[in-house]
Symmetry: D2
Subunit: 437 residues, 4 copies
C-alpha cells in the first residue's frame, strides 16, 4: 500500500489560553488515532450562538449552547463530520464522528481536544540568541527535544559542523552524514503556517574543505562511467579566507592555477515532518526542505518552508564553501560555518514545498525522484505561488512562466533530484498585489 500523505498531523502542545469569550479564531484540534496524535485545523466564526467556518477545509455549521459546541461539517465527496464538545478554560473537549462518503456504513468516532492558536503580533523586541551547539543530529526528527526555543522575529547566531562532522578546529564531533545544528522550537508556529528563514550571515570559519573527484550516477552516461571509473579519491581544498578563493591543496599539473571564488551556502535547512511519518535522515530532502544542496541558499536570501509540527523544529547544517549546480561530486567543498539566521512565522499560509527569495528573484523548488518529475514539481510550486500571491489566472501564469522562467538544476547527488524555477522580481513588479513570501 502506498502511504497516504497526511498533511495535518502534529503534536498538540499549545499553551493554555484564558477562557475565550468568543470562539472565533483558528483552532488546533488533536485527535488520538491508535496512539498516534493526528491533528486538524479548525476555523470558527461565532455570531451569537451560531457557528460557521471550516474543519480541515470542510465547511461547517453549528451552535454554541451554554458551554456546549456542536457542528456538522461536509466534504465535497459526500462525507461529513459531526462534532460534539464542551468548552472549559479555553479548551474544547469532546468527540468527532468521521463519515467517509464512499463508505457511510463505517463511521469512525474519535476523542479530541482543541485549543485556539494565538495570533503572533509583531515581535516588539526580537532577541539575538548566541547558541553554541554541543550535540548534532542526523535525522530531521519531530521526536528530538529542541535545543532552544525562540520567537518569531528572533535571530540565531551559531555554528555548524561540516558534512563529515568536523568543526571549525577540524575536530570531528559526531559521525558524518550532514549532522545538524538544532532543532530550534519557534513559538507560535503551527501546522498550516510557513516558516521564513532569513540568512543574515554565512561565514567560513576554517581554511580547508573536503570534497572528492567522483561523478554521481545521475551525471554519468555509460561512456563517462567508463572514463571516470578510477575516480574515487578525497580532495582537500584550501580556503583562502582573505581573498575568498578555493584552490586544490595538491593540484596535479593542469590545476595548479585553478581557483574558484567561495560562495558559502547551507546544504541543509529543514523543518520537522509530521508526527505520523518516519523522520527522514539528514541526507534526504522533501517538502520540508532538508538536504536540498541548492547553491542559492546563501547569505542575504530567505527560504520558506512549511510548518508541520508545533514549533516547526528548525534544523540546519552541511555548509559548503562553494558548490557547482547539482553537487555533482556527491560532496561539495564541505566545511564548517558560522551562521546567523532570523526566523519568522507566516501564519495561516502553507507553502507546498521549498520556496526562496533573493534580492532579484523568487524561486520555487521541486524535489522528486527524477529531474523530469522535479521539473514538473518546481513548475507547479511556482504556478501556485503566482496564483496565490499575484492572483494570476492559469492563462496568465502560463504567459509569465513562458516569458520569464529560468530553470536550473539544484541537486543531483541525493535520493531526490532538485530543480528550481526562478523568476526575476522586476518583471513581476507591475503585477497587482505583489507580496513577499
Amino acid at each position: 500500500m502506498r502511504i497516504l500523505r497526511l498533511w495535518f498531523l502534529f503534536v498538540l502542545c499549545l499553551p493554555a489560553v484564558a477562557q475565550t469569550s468568543n470562539l472565533s479564531g483558528r483552532w488546533f484540534v488533536s485527535t488520538d488515532l491508535y496512539g498516534t496524535p493526528i491533528y486538524y485545523p479548525l476555523n470558527l466564526v461565532q455570531q451569537g450562538d451560531k457557528l460557521t467556518g471550516d474543519f480541515g477545509g470542510d465547511k461547517l455549521q453549528g451552535t454554541l449552547t451554554s458551554n456546549t459546541v456542536q457542528f456538522h461539517a461536509v466534504d465535497d465527496q459526500g462525507g461529513w463530520e459531526d462534532c460534539k464538545a464542551t468548552i472549559a478554560n479555553g479548551l474544547l473537549t469532546g468527540t468527532i464522528v468521521f463519515v467517509d462518503g464512499s463508505d457511510k456504513e463505517h463511521p469512525q468516532t474519535r476523542q479530541f481536544t482543541a485549543k485556539m492558536v494565538p495570533v503572533i503580533s509583531a515581535n516588539k523586541s526580537p532577541v539575538r540568541h548566541d547558541f553554541t551547539p554541543s550535540v548534532f543530529y542526523r535525522r530531521f526528527s519531530h521526536e528530538i527535544k529542541p535545543v532552544l526555543t525562540i520567537h518569531s522575529g528572533d535571530t540565531i547566531h551559531t555554528t555548524t559542523v561540516d558534512a563529515g562532522g568536523a568543526d571549525e578546529k577540524g575536530v570531528t564531533r559526531v559521525l558524518g552524514g550532514n549532522p545538524e545544528t538544532g532543532p530550534f522550537y519557534v513559538e507560535g508556529a503551527y501546522p498550516g503556517d510557513t516558516l521564513a528563514v532569513h540568512i543574515d550571515r554565512l561565514k567560513l570559519n576554517r581554511d580547508y574543505a573536503i570534497s572528492d573527484d567522483g561523478i554521481v550516477p545521475r551525471g554519468l552516461t555509460g561512456g563517462l562511467a567508463i572514463k571516470t571509473k578510477d575516480n574515487n579519491a578525497n580532495v582537500r581544498w584550501h580556503l583562502d579566507l582573505q581573498r575568498g578563493l578555493a584552490t586544490p591543496e595538491k593540484p596535479g599539473e593542469h590545476m595548479a592555477s585553478y581557483a574558484v571564488p567561495v560562495k558559502p551556502m547551507l546544504g541543509c535547512v529543514a523543518t520537522a515532518v509530521n508526527s505520523a511519518a518516519a523522520p527522514p535522515g539528514t541526507g534526504d530532502s522533501g517538502r520540508f526542505g532538508g538536504n536540498m544542496d541548492f547553491n542559492e541558499v546563501v547569505e542575504g536570501n530567505t527560504i520558506y518552508l512549511p510548518v508541520s509540527v508545533p514549533g516547526a523544529l528548525l534544523y540546519f547544517g552541511d555548509g559548503h564553501a562553494l558548490q557547482g549546480d547539482g553537487e555533482i561530486n556527491g560532496n561539495a567543498l564541505e566545511t564548517s560555518m558560522e551562521v546567523e539566521v532570523t526566523v519568522e512565522v507566516i501564519q495561516g499560509k502553507r507553502v507546498p514545498g521549498p520556496r526562496l527569495e533573493s534580492s532579484s528573484h523568487i524561486m520555487a523548488m521541486g524535489l522528486e525522484g527524477s529531474l523530469d518529475d522535479a521539473f514538473k514539481s518546481a513548475t507547479d510550486n511556482m504556478a501556485n505561488w503566482l496564483m496565490e500571491q499575484y492572483k494570476l489566472t492559469p492563462s496568465e501564469v502560463a504567459m509569465v512562466i513562458g516569458t520569464a522562467s529560468e530553470y536550473k538544476v539544484s541537486e543531483v547527488a541525493d535520493r531526490n533530484a532538485g530543480m528550481v524555477l526562478k523568476i526575476r522580481k522586476d518583471l513581476l513588479a507591475h503585477l497587482p498585489k505583489p507580496a513577499s513570501k
Copy 2:
C-alpha cells in the same frame, strides 16, 4: 552533501565464543565512530604465526605472537589499515589506524572489538513458532526490540493486519500506513549474509478488502488526470473465500459482474537497514526490501534480502488479496492475512537488492526514483546474479538477458518505482553450476 552508503555498519551483539585456538574464520569487527557503532567484516587465515585474509575487502598480512595480533591491510587506492590487538576469551580488542590513500596526512585511529561469527550448521530440528502479534511497527527500524528470536531453518506462523491497521475481525489495532508484524531476530545472521524468506502459506482471513479508485501520479498523463479528477473514493471489495474471488461491494451498473481471482501477496517484507542510517518508514522500499508491493511475493515463492544488522530483523505486513502490476490505485485490495514463512540464513553472500525465486523463474528487482532507473537497477541486479551464480562472462550475460528477459513493472505507487527482470529457470537449467539463491 550526499550521504555515503555504508554497507557494513551494524551493532555488535555476538555471543561470547570459547577461546579460539586458531584464528581462521570470519570475524565481526565493531569500531566506535563518535558514538555510532561502525562495523566491518574480517576474514583471517592463520598458518602457524602467520595471518592472511582481508579486512573489509582489503588484503591483509600479519602475525600472531603469543596473544598479540598485528596486521597491515591495503586497499587499491593507495590507502591502508594497521591493526594491533590482543586476543582473550575469543574476543579481539585493540586499535585500527585508517589511512586514506588520497589524504595520508590525516590518519584516523579507532578502538575496536571483534568476535568470530559461528558457522551455521544445518538446522537439525527446525522449530515452527506460532506467534500472535500484539504490537505493529511503522518503521523498518534496527532500533526496535525483536518480538521473537528464531534460528535459521525455523518457521514463523503468524498474522498481519491490513495497511490501515485493521485485523482479521475488522478491529483497527494501530494507525495505518502498513503496520508490520515483527521484527524477528534470526540467530546467526550477520551483515554480509543474505536472508532467504520462503513463503509457505498466505491465507486470507476475512471477507473484505479496502481499496480506492484513484490513479497514482506515475500513471497519469495530463489528459487522464483531467478525466479522472473526480476519482477519489474508497472502494470496499467482498472477498469470497470459498470461490477465491473478489467483487466490488457496491458496483455501479457496468461492474455488476466483475470478479477477479484472489492471489494473496505481502506488500512488505524487509530486513532492517544499517545502524548509521535513519530507519525508513513502512511506506518506503529499497535494497532492504520493504514496501515493494510486488504481486509475486506470494505463497510458494522465496525472497532474498541482504542482512545489514545482526539478527537481520525481519518485518512483514501489508497483505493484499490481489493486486494488478504496480498497485496503480495506490491501494491494492488491502486486507489482513494468515502468514507462514520459513527463514534461512545464507552466510557470506550478500544480495545487492531484492531477489525472488518461484518454481519457474528467478527474478531480480530494481527500486529507484523512476521507472527508467529501476529498469537499469533490475538489469544490474540480474547481471550480477548471472555472473556470480552461473559464472557467466559479461558477454554471455548480455546474450542470456537479450534472449530470455521478461521485464515487468512491480511498483508505481510509492516513492520508489519498481521493475523486475524475470528469467525462466528451465532456460538456465543447462548452464554450468546452477545453484539456488
Copy 3:
C-alpha cells in the same frame, strides 16, 4: 517552436462518387495550406434543406439551397468556421474561413474540395495476394508509391528481409536499418479510421540469425557499463527450424547447452504518418507503430494502428526469430521471414496509438522518450479503450486497471521506449458491450 500535432492531415485521393442525392455521411475535406494539403473530417446530416453535423469536431449548422452548401461551425474556444461551397458530381468545392477565438482579427480563408467517404461493406470475396518484394524502404513515408493495392479483408502473403537487409538466402538486398516490405495501399482506409492487421502466419525461412552481445544504454548502470565495456561483438545464432530452437553458433564454455525456443515476431508494423510531417526512418516508432520491437507481435495476434493518410500505407519488416522483452542487445535474433497478414479497415474509429489483441489479452502500448512517460502513455491508451469500448466510467477504469493490469516493457533499444499494459480478456468478459477492435 514546438511542432503542433496535426491529427487530420492527409492527401486527398478519393475516387469520384456518383451524384449524391443526400449529403448525409462522412466527408473528407482537403484544403491547401501553402502547398501542403491539410485535411479535415466532415460529418453531415441532411434533413430537407437543413444541415447539421460537425466539421473537424466542431458542431455545425447550415443549409443546402439548390447546389449551394453553407454552414457555420463553432469550437468551444470562441472560434468558428464559415463554409460556402457548391456541390457537383459528388464533389463539394468552395471556401472555408477559419476564425481563432483568441485572435478574431486575423481570419484565414482557404479553398477546399471534399468527397464523401464510401462505407466499406463486408468484403464478400477477400483476395489472397502473393507478393514478392523487389524493393525495400527505409522510411515509413507517405511519399512512396504503393507496391500493391488491396481491399479491406484481403490477405497478403509475402516475405521480409532481416534488419541488415539480407533475405532468406542470406543475400543482402538493401542497406540495413530495418528495410521494410510495402507500402500496401488499403482501399477505403481514410484518416480517422483504424487499420487492423491480423498476423496469420510468421514463419522462419532460413537457419541463422544475427545478434550481438551489447547492452543498450537504457539497461546500463554505471557499474554495468564498466563491466560490459568490452562487449561489442556480433553473435550469430543457429536456428533449428525443425525443433524450433535457437543456439549460439560459437558458444563459449558456459553456453554450450544454451537453447531458446524461437517465437517469430515482426519488429516493425507501421502505417504512414500524416502528410505534413517528415517521414520517420524505419528505426523509429510512434503512434503510427513502426519499429516497436514488441515480442507479442506474433502469429495469431492482431495489431491496431491509426490511419493517417488515404490508403493507410502499411509497412512491415524487421523479423526476429525471438526476442527478450525490450530488445536489450539492440539487436534481437534478426532474420528473414515468411509473412501472411489479413488487413481490415475499421471505419470512423481512430486508436490513439498501437493496440494489440491476442486470444487471451487486450494490450495498449505507450511509446515515449522514457519508460516513465511510456508507462503513462500506455495507461492512457488503455483507459481510453476501456471508456470507449466497454463504456466504463473513469472510476471503473481505475478499478479494472488496479486489479487486472499486467505491465511489461516492450522496447528499450530505440529512441522511444515502449511499455505495454495488458488485460486478460476473460476478466472483461462480463462487462457490458465487450466488442473487439
Copy 4:
C-alpha cells in the same frame, strides 16, 4: 532492431585534385553499400613507399608501388580491412575487404573511390552574401539542393520567417512548423569537421509575435493539468522595437503592465544529418542541432555543430523575440527575423553534439528523450570538451565541473528535452592550453 549510428556516412562530392605526388593527408573514402553511399575518413602518411595512418580510426600499414596502393588496417576487436587500389589523377579507386572480428567467415568486399580533402587556408577575402530566401524547408535534409554555396569565413545576411511561416510583413509564405532558411553549402566542410556559426546580428523586423498560453506536458503535474485545462488560446504580443519590450496585445486585468525585454534568438540552427538516415523534420533536434529552442542562441554567441555531409548544409530559422527557459508554452514569442551569421569550418575535429560559446561561458548541450538523460548527455559533452581542449584528466574534469557547473534547462517543448552545462571562461582561463571551440 535498433538502428546503428553510422557516424561517417556521407556523399562524395570532392573537387578533382591534381595528381598527388605524395599521398600524405586526409582522404575522403566513398563506398557503395547497396545503393547508399557510405563514407569513411582515411589518414595517410607516406614515407618513401611505406604507408601508415588510419582507416576510420583503425591503424594501417601499407605500401605504394608505382601507382598501386595496398594497406591492411586492424581494429581492436580482432577485425581488419584489406585495401587494394590504384591512384590516378588524385583519385584512389579499388576494393576494400571488411572482416568483422567476431564473424571472420563472412567478409564483405566493397568498391570504393577516395579523394584528398583540401586544407582550408585562412580565408583571405571573406565574402558577405546578401541572400533573400524564396523557399523555406521543413526538413533538415541532406537531399535538398543548396540555395547558396559559401566558403569558410564568409558571412550570410538574410531573413527568416516565423515558426508559422509568416514573414516580416505578416505574409504567410509556407506551411508552419519552423520553416527554415537555407540550406547553405560550405565549401571544404567534410564529415569529421565541425561547423562554427557565429551569430553576428539578430534583429527583429516586425512589431508582433505569436505565442500561446498552454503548458507543455513536461511541465504539468496532474494537479496543474487540471488547473490549466482550459488554457489553449493563441496570444499575440506587441513588440516595441524602439524600447525593446514585449507586451501582450490584449492583456487581462492583471497583465496590463506586464512587459518583458526582448532577447532575439534562433530556435533552429542545424547541419544536415548523414546520408543513410531519414532527414529529421524541423520540429526535431539532435546531435546535428536543429530545433534546440535554447535562449542563448543569440547575437554575439557562436554555436558549434558536427559536419555529417560534404558542405555541412546549414539551416536556420524559428526566430523568437524572447523565450523563457524551456519554451514551456510550446511556442515562444514567434516572429520573423533579420539574421547575419559568419560560418567557419574547423577541420578534423568533430563535436559530439551542440556546443556554444559566449563572451563569458562555454556551454555543452544534451538533447535526449528525458531531462534525466539530457543531463547526463550535457555532462558527457562538457567532460569530453574539457579532456580534449584543456587536456584535463577525468579526475580534474570532475573537480572543475563540481565547482564551476551551471546547469540550465534549454528545452522541454519538443520530442527531445534539452539541458545545457555552462562553465565560466574566466575560471578556465588559467588552465593549460585553453583554445576556442
